[in-house]
Symmetry: C2
Subunit: 120 residues, 2 copies
Amino acid sequence: MASCDKSSKVDVRDLFNALGDNTRRTIMDLLAEHDEMTVKQLSEHFPDLVRSGISKHLMQLRKLNLVYSIKRGREQIYRINPEVVSNVLRPWVKKYEKYWDDTLIRLKQAAESSKRDHDE
Amino acid sequence: MASCDKSSKVDVRDLFNALGDNTRRTIMDLLAEHDEMTVKQLSEHFPDLVRSGISKHLMQLRKLNLVYSIKRGREQIYRINPEVVSNVLRPWVKKYEKYWDDTLIRLKQAAESSKRDHDE
DNA sequence: TCCATGCGTTACTAAACGGTAACCAATTAC
DNA sequence: GTAATTGGTTACCGTTTAGTAACGCATGGA
């Protein structure tokens, strides 16, 4: 629960502003891979950063509702807010899907045409 | 042709660094929508920016091989580099596809279970 | 030829941003 | 009880960066 229900406020601008930083994007990628992680676990993936740095990035991600957290003992468990990914990232990606479709089609056509005749 | 063949150098870091800026992401979105545009056409979508600003962003996008340009008369035609979108954006997106799949499944399950029993 | 148009490029400045250090509160282990 | 762990918060600093202004350079039309 918590701040997971304000996902309607997130726009594509916030999303990419967050993803524009390498550390934050890696945090998101790690959360996408492991489903849930503590700050400690996350910070172990960033040996060049002190933990407060990670915490600050998580603060931002939380404010933008890209992630949410629940408390368990003295640990804080972070998870990706799936609504945001589904409602913001997915529609944006749709605009670019034609490019990999086109690329596939083009590569296929090129492969086929080079099989038949390779005049050029 | 031109600088379209160096797409192997682009990584996800460069991509999101570029997309992190609102102007650059909008430029990419416009190019994705219109296939090809001149600098003039692009700058008409940014009434708050002078043309040199757009040009600077395009310079960046070109250096990162996210777009390429060809000259036609005194105009410069810009297009998205489809290889980059296909080779960099697509693999990254794959990590997050499960979220909208999960969301769909979860919404479907919720709808079904609330049909049967809605005991909070 | 002369002027307007379309772009690129270079300093420059003001603002934003990432990272650190230091401190705090809450929880767990001893 | 005390000490250690976990992580949030704030102030601060150095760097980056977006946008502008001003210039140059072609191309196209008169």
